[in-house]
Subunit: 351 residues, 2 copies
């Protein structure tokens, strides 16, 4: 056997605080105070230096797990997302990691892959980890049973001293950052109407997906008010992903409606829909205009540039983190994140 030191997983020799104390010739308590200096930084300067020198010499690395035990709290923040590969979620994650880092917290990432069951499972895992707080990101479903279980899980977590916040519909009993899907979609509708469009269609996402629903409803309500209501069969349901937009558009085209502009309830769906339209021989944006929602950064350079509703996802991540960390015990708060309509080439106005 090769006598390699510290090769096998889990058996490396790590200097402990006792080692540091011994090396510095002080007690364990003094070493602890010198290195952490939390409550009372009352350590004589020369001793403090000796300890720090010893720690450096031994390459001391404080054991965060032991600290968690002794302190009764961790420096871990849990982040649960539906799909980290989706730019929407990963950009929010960037905001969360930024804020968490500023607060000195490590982020534990959980990717549910759109499985609500795993969402609950991860709350358990984060509970076991004694994560200080949890941030749940993603639109909710219209599923009373599922929401109830999730709410219970979060409540249990909070009863044990954790704090939580979410991004999405504020229906889980915790503070939330809620995108103003209705208002922004209405704004978008009014802007398109202002451009002269009168015949609209919606590639609308899943029936019980609350975010999709809010966007559909906001859009259609505004148009109804403007006297250009969207016909029922001009709203096609589909999945909330790119392929959903593609399929939804196919379906819409098959219906043979007379449409000037299509609103897809998110950007990637809009792109998928545009591809479907092109495959059907349409010339964009001349033959048909498109609008999306989210303003995904990576899609800034598509052609034609996409009219959409811009939301600041990094900031949403930051705000969710602030809510989670500040959420001491008061009532759950709700922060509304507004969206800005951005008119671009994909909606040049009717011919």
């Amino acid at each position: 056997m090769t006598p390699t030191r510290g090769s096998a997983a889990g058996n490396g020799r790590v200097a402990t605080l006792s080692d540091v104390a011994r090396e510095a010739g002080v007690s364990l308590a003094t070493a602890s105070r010198a290195i952490n200096g939390s409550t009372n930084r009352s350590v004589r300067e020369d001793l403090r230096e000796r300890v720090l020198a010893a720690a450096a010499k031994l390459d001391y690395s404080p054991n965060a797990n032991a600290q968690a035990m002794a302190r009764g709290r961790t420096a871990t923040l849990g982040l649960i997302v539906h799909d980290i590969a989706d730019p929407f979620f990963s950009t929010i994650a960037a905001g969360v990691t930024e804020a968490a880092d500023a607060a000195g917290l490590a982020v534990t990432l959980a990717n549910t892959e759109h499985d609500p069951e795993r969402e609950i499972g991860f709350i358990q895992t984060l509970q076991n980890l004694r994560a200080r707080s949890i941030i749940l990101v993603g639109g909710r479903q219209d599923d009373d049973e599922g929401n109830r279980r999730l709410r219970d899980a979060l409540a249990g977590y909070q009863e044990r001293g954790g704090t939580a916040a979410m991004v999405g519909q504020p229906i889980l009993g915790v503070s939330a950052v809620h995108v103003d899907n209705r208002g922004a979609s209405a704004e978008l509708a009014r802007a398109l109407h202002g451009l002269g469009y009168r015949r609209f269609a919606v590639v609308g996402g899943p029936e019980n997906h609350l975010t999709a629903r809010e966007r559909r409803e906001g859009f259609c309500a505004a148009l109804a008010e403007l006297g250009s209501p969207v016909a029922d069969d001009a709203v096609v349901p589909c999945a909330f992903v790119r392929d959903g937009g593609y399929d939804g558009m196919k379906e819409l085209l098959a219906r043979g409606l007379d449409v000037e502009v299509v609103f897809a309830v998110n950007d990637v769906m809009a792109l998928g829909a545009m591809t479907a339209a092109r495959e059907a021989g349409l010339d964009l944006p001349r033959d048909l205009a498109f609008a999306g929602f989210d303003d995904i950064t990576a899609l800034r350079d598509v052609t034609p540039t996409l009219t959409t509703v811009a939301i600041d996802m990094v900031d949403i991540g930051r705000q969710a983190t602030a809510l989670a960390l500040g959420d001491g015990g008061g009532e759950p708060q709700v922060v509304i994140a507004s969206g800005d309509v951005v008119l671009r080439e994909s909606t040049p106005g009717p011919r």
Copy 2:
């Protein structure tokens, strides 16, 4: 009796294993064995059931930090990326979380925001957390001093029993998944040459960015072999991001070279470059062809669809995880991830 003072994540009272044991009327050891049931499940069935029932009744949540202390190892995997908002990294992250989840590990995410200094800082943090292994994702720079420090940090981490792997150039003394940038870029060059293109330019990324360099060199070397060398001034340096591609293209246009096709060393740069070309009045792909690298999923629907080199980022994440977890003590391994040339509309062939 003894008032349970248990508290870990704040002030909520959490049932401990002792509570469960007492409730079930068994010893702590038995409760531990019944719940963990590691290799030796030597617990009488009725007792085991009593323990499990008690745990369920008390809503027992095992304290992972305490387990880490007692066992001497955690179930945490550290993931360090340059920018989680970048689709390239977030897709790899999806592969890592998938594999980690399958291995029963929690993923701690660290976002360096392209700061090499923070890369080292996070290794320290993960060391403190006693993460079982670390995965470092991102191309390296040609910076001997920086690489040396990083290598030292990783070596220190491994000496203490951690395992590590990376995605990128295998120059840090740990196992790595290395994309075959040179080979794939050469392949791309040959494919473009095969289409009839003869006058090439490269929007080349940063001078000392190893990934950019490998792609530039592979591309140019292949063309030199084919007798269509790329002129020195047809390779413009720029940042490795979208705006870099945009600026690089501006510069390239300013040079007034006679070019048929532009290779940008990654997809987002290619998109930025295309936008710059369009702003200069060019009609794409008729006036100028473009190719990128990575095949970012979100860009599948751009117009014209982008010729690029597809790499399976999710699988790269999986493989990196496998390397990290399997990396017991042997020599660092290197897995080459191949890229597939995908010819699309952006390179229709010369007119």
